[in-house]
């Protein structure tokens, strides 16, 4: 085992995000030095794991804790430190809260939402096609579709989307918003959700917020604040990530015309394509939500001591050549694809099945309605987001 006392500490992330390109450093680390010491812009230094097997262990093994982050100067990308909420809980507390909503997001329940999602997607594509060419895929399809789906599911008025979409950005902001602004947005989001919850006490509803309110009132182990935070988190996370991934997926496909043609020729590949794109797109710019070792654990040949935080690079794990042959190649027909794009372990994305369905619907609707889709501007002119936890486009002018 390596001697950790002399380990040098590197700044992380290694570089500023360059579109959807992954820093070549990760491939070298996976090969030579799978666990290194890093320092994020704020908080204490941490370990960083880059191999698939190690990342899965850190995220999935009960010897690692998120609850132990409470009270620590957590490694993070913005000065603001959010404490509390489901992402700073371990089982059984985490389970108690997650159970409230997990049943609404099973593959079976999500499948029931597919026809309605396709109908909304068709209406939105009508608008896209009427507006151009060229027209902005982000504004016409990628943003409104996930918002309408999560609003229907939770029972949030779509008419309020301008408000909560703005506030939700605080959840994924690193430097895009000032600390004060980010805090104000989060306070607004919580207050807004608190209002919807209070309404349901007066007038019960069948939507997910209504179900959460009933469960909370029947189980006094759940605090009002926990329910508000969970509902607000579902609303924000429930659309920010999918809104970002839709243009990322389309961007990658348009940059791989052979694979796009393959998908057009064989529509049965759509579910595989979504998995492969989840693997291939390095959505995260940096690492967050360090896991704290509860006891000494050996990871990647290094002894991590009890109490030390470990970060993981999911984009790196998803390019691990020992798991994904020819890992840097996009292969929409990849058969074995245990990517970690939705995370792993108890904090595995609760909305993963919903996101999958939405992403499949988007590919299907574009293949049906705009099979000749192409960028309407040179690639170099595409505007990329900055100061956020995720990579993505602010606009994507397309023609067809």
């Amino acid at each position: 085992m390596a001697d950790t006392s002399e380990a040098t500490i590197e700044r992380y992330p290694f570089s500023d995000p360059d579109r959807l390109n992954l820093d070549p450093r990760y491939a070298l680390l996976r090969r030579d030095e799978p666990l290194i010491r890093v320092r994020l812009p704020y908080g204490e230094p941490a370990w960083l794991a880059t191999r698939h097997a190690d990342v899965r262990t850190v995220l999935g093994d009960a010897r690692f804790s998120r609850a132990a982050a409470v009270g620590r100067d957590e490694p993070r990308n913005s000065p603001r430190q959010i404490q509390g909420g489901i992402l700073t809980m371990d089982p059984p507390d985490h389970t108690r809260l997650r159970r409230l909503v997990a049943r609404a997001f099973t593959a079976r329940r999500v499948e029931e939402l597919r026809p309605r999602t396709r109908q909304v997607a068709d209406e939105l594509v009508d608008g896209l096609l009427a507006a151009g060419p060229p027209a902005d895929l982000v504004a016409h399809l990628a943003t409104p579709l996930p918002i309408r789906v999560i609003c229907d599911l939770l029972g949030v008025p779509v008419a309020d989307q301008d408000k909560f979409h703005t506030w939700s950005e605080a959840i994924v902001s690193t430097t895009a918003l000032s600390v004060e602004q980010a805090q104000r947005y989060i306070d607004n989001l919580f207050a807004y959700m608190g209002g919807l919850i209070a309404q349901r006490r007066q007038e019960p509803t069948d939507d997910l917020i209504g179900a959460m309110v009933r469960a909370r009132d029947a189980d006094d182990r759940l605090s009002e604040e926990e329910v508000v935070q969970l509902a607000a988190g579902l609303l924000a996370a429930g659309h920010e990530t999918t809104v970002t991934q839709i243009p990322n997926f389309v961007y990658v496909l348009l940059n791989h015309p052979d694979e796009w043609a393959r998908l057009r020729a064989d529509r049965s590949l759509v579910p595989h394509a979504v998995e492969e794109l989840m693997r291939f797109v390095p959505l995260g710019v940096t690492a967050a939500f360090a896991r704290y070792a509860k006891e000494d654990v050996e990871i990647g040949g290094v002894l991590v001591h009890a109490g030390e935080p470990v970060l993981v690079s999911i984009p790196s794990a998803n390019r691990d050549e020992t798991v994904f042959p020819d890992a840097d190649r996009l292969d929409l027909g990849r058969e074995i694809n245990p990517h970690l794009g939705f995370g792993h372990g108890v904090h595995h994305c609760v909305g993963a099945q919903l996101a999958r369905m939405e992403l499949q619907v988007v590919l299907d609707v574009l293949l049906d309605r705009a099979p000749g889709l192409r960028l309407a501007v040179p690639e170099a002119e595409l505007p990329w987001k900055s100061g956020l936890l995720v990579r993505g486009l602010t606009a994507m002018p397309v023609a067809w």
Partner: protein
């Protein structure tokens, strides 16, 4: 209903459908004493278990509903719930 109220006394049976399992690792994290990942897919550590809330939680948390908990004697499904 809590774990004690659901049993007939002869214990529970755990089954993971490998064709449904996506290896999310949620069950192994929720109930590490009952589930483990083998080559990326979940497997119960023991098929017959003493009733425990933790296994209901694991079955109810599985997004694929790949885990079924049933009563050994009556064969009644205990989790996941509807």
């Amino acid at each position: 209903m809590n774990a004690e109220e659901k049993t007939t006394g002869s214990g529970w049976r755990l089954h993971v459908d490998p064709t449904r399992c996506i290896g999310s690792g949620i069950c192994a994290g929720t109930a590490p004493g009952h589930f483990t990942l083998v080559e990326g897919l979940s497997r119960p550590l023991a098929e017959r278990v003493t009733p425990a809330q933790e296994v209901i939680d694991a079955a109810d948390s599985c997004p694929m509903e790949a885990i079924v908990v049933s009563d050994v004697e009556s064969r009644r499904q205990i989790a996941p719930g509807a």
